[in-house]
């Protein structure tokens, strides 16, 4: 697995498309629920917001927004979402062969 993380609108998907030569039909947007058989899954934060889990294929490219860089919200749902998201990102990062953080369109290989 490859895990790509970074803040909102930093160019994570654009970088993945270029780096891995992804075609549009190989990319699944997790805003639309989960679906097996894709090479790249983007918007992991939409999945964790719903409280879903997904059996990502071992060779998947997963793209996740960093959402924990602000004040912990008073609202319990918002807090639990950050918790679920953070825990899943850590688990995926632990099992991924490669973890890349994107900042301003620029990559940094963390693992």
């Amino acid at each position: 697995m490859v895990l790509i993380i970074g803040g909102a609108w930093q160019g994570k998907l654009s970088w993945a498309i270029k780096e891995y030569g992804l075609q549009p039909e190989e990319i699944w947007d997790l805003e639309q629920g989960y679906c097996t058989g894709y090479r790249c899954y983007t918007h992991l934060e939409a999945l964790t917001r719903r409280g879903d889990t997904a059996p990502f294929p071992p060779d998947a490219i997963v793209i996740a927004r960093e959402i924990g860089g602000g004040v912990v919200p008073l609202n319990a749902d918002e807090r639990l979402w950050r918790e679920r998201h953070g825990v899943l990102v850590q688990a995926l990062a632990a099992q991924a062969q490669r973890v890349v953080r994107i900042f301003c369109g620029l990559p940094e290989v963390l693992k």
């Binding site: 924990g68 004040v71 919200p73 900042f103 620029l106």
Partner: protein, 174 residues
């Protein structure tokens, strides 16, 4: 040389930008973009201007509709900040100007290309997971897009935290 410094508020990016400018040659200009809203803003501007005067910066104030003619071509410019520039361009008409991001990005890049050295700072607003209203979301996205455009062609891109620098692209002036 062109440098983009990105960091949270009070991370030390403006101070570092000033430090890097002082290492560069050319006549030094501080390009202020803040449009004061009240007495508190005016007091802060006056204080900053005094601090910089001792370092030999000439201050110019232009918060939108940038024109590179405002500084001579051999200038070393500290542009503070991209954050304020976009805010002025997007919101000062009363509503939301949807074309502001594209326009501000173009003005900023064109201005930077005409300067001998250009050091600009921007706030990091993209990692808090907040669900903002449409106007704020639009603003945050446009700001990220401007930074990515700058990052593509600038020599150096840095992240600043706690007054410390991490280079994502290029190197710092010696």
């Amino acid at each position: 040389m062109r440098i983009l410094l990105i960091g949270g508020s009070k991370s030390g990016k403006s101070r570092l930008a000033q430090e890097f400018c002082l290492r560069l040659d050319g006549e030094r200009y501080y390009w202020a973009t803040m449009e004061p809203a009240d007495g508190e803003d005016r007091a802060r501007i006056a204080r900053h201007r005094e601090e910089r005067a001792g370092c030999g910066f000439i201050t110019i104030e232009q918060g939108r509709n940038l024109s590179a003619q405002a500084v001579p071509p051999d200038a070393a410019v500290l542009f503070d900040s991209v954050t304020a520039l976009l805010s002025n361009e997007m919101f000062s008409s009363g509503g939301i100007d949807q074309s502001a991001g594209e326009r501000a990005g173009k003005e900023l890049l064109e201005t930077s290309r005409r300067c001998r050295h250009f050091v600009c700072v921007c706030d990091d607003l993209w990692r808090d997971g907040m669900d903002y209203d449409d106007a704020t979301r639009y603003y945050c996205r446009a700001l990220a897009q401007i930074c990515r455009r700058c990052a593509e062609e600038f020599d150096t891109v840095c992240e600043v935290t706690g007054g410390l620098v991490r280079c994502w692209k290029g190197a710092l002036p010696e």
